[in-house]
Symmetry: C2
Subunit: 202 residues, 2 copies
């Protein structure tokens, strides 16, 4: 049985963006199934009393430098910082779950992160997300209506609550079984865990 | 001219401990001089408004797991957690500067971190540091007297103030020139910076 890598992320999180560009290939080369699980980072912070790094001035200054280091390392498009940060990501997250219903979560995630951190667009704005949906060939009006349905709202809340209950306090958060790893910079440890899991079951 | 890697660290910081086991070899294989610079992390937190990861419950729980992951990765002795954390490190830091005067900073640092995180001793206690000094063949009474001299106090404060002025907000903090890197997990980026610096001047 292939092992599973759960990837909890939020569209407002630049380190989630970084991880999102690596995680699928990482899973595939280790024979693991990657479960992409959008959650609401703001609610994770509220539940755990944690704060985003940008809430501290010295940390915020380093954040931009560090992100640029990672972007160069991963050879991603130059960082273009969004007009407001951290932005409200609840609609983007819910639309991720709608995209998932249509088998388009990975593509939606790529486009939405690209809009936020490579084009510097404000993904809290419905118009920006509308553009993403059009690009993906999703029916925008229907997707936006579905995003505000109780079912989708509940599903996002359930992902968030579950992650917190399992120990999450930030994003991205990875699980291999109940083995938790926090942060894009822990992907090498995630890979090691998958290798071990693969040997155990393979 | 060889490039210089500055390594700001504090004896209460487990991630400084991790980095201390790697940084000298990293510098040497890149032809760089490593400047070991003890500073007072508590004062850095106070100056920047930052807080240690252990101040958040969910983070603190992950901290221990993450440290164990690193310890396995670096093949270090099993983590033995000190009786109080974060501990008062001011005397340990000042003694680091005394050891530096005697050309023993690296050995002192190795022994002190080992006492704190592999033996689980309380390095805020003078008796524990006394034992470290004896192990290193340093005159303990004289070293402790020197550690409370105005000159050593001022030197620790100067290291701390300088690091904060240059952007530090936590430990360990590395500088290659004014290029700053924060955290043991950024050592691969530190190494890349040294490689680039080496090419530029070599």
């Amino acid at each position: 049985m292939p092992s599973t890598l759960e990837f909890f992320f939020d569209y407002s999180s630049p380190y989630s963006y970084l991880a999102s560009t690596q995680v699928q290939a990482l899973g595939e080369r280790n024979g693991a199934i990657v479960k992409w699980r959008p959650f609401l980072l703001g609610a994770v912070f509220k539940a755990t009393g944690n704060v985003p790094p940008s809430s501290n001035l010295a940390k915020a200054q380093y954040l931009l430098k560090d992100l640029s280091d990672w972007i160069r390392h991963y050879r991603l498009p130059e960082l273009v910082w969004p007009p407001s940060f951290p932005m409200n990501s609840v609609l983007a997250d819910r639309l991720g779950l709608v995209a998932e219903e249509q088998g388009k979560l990975i593509e939606y995630t790529r486009e939405t992160f690209h809009a936020a951190f490579a084009k510097g667009q404000d993904i809290s704005e419905k118009e920006v997300l509308y553009g993403v949906l059009v690009t993906l060939g999703m029916e925008p009006e229907a997707a936006l209506a579905r995003a505000t349905s109780q079912e989708i709202k509940d599903r996002l809340r359930a992902n968030t609550d579950e992650a917190v209950a399992r120990g999450a306090f930030g994003a991205p958060t990875f699980f291999v079984g109940e083995d938790m790893y926090v942060g894009n910079d822990r992907l090498p440890f995630v890979e090691r865990a998958l290798t071990v899991a693969g040997r155990a079951t393979g």
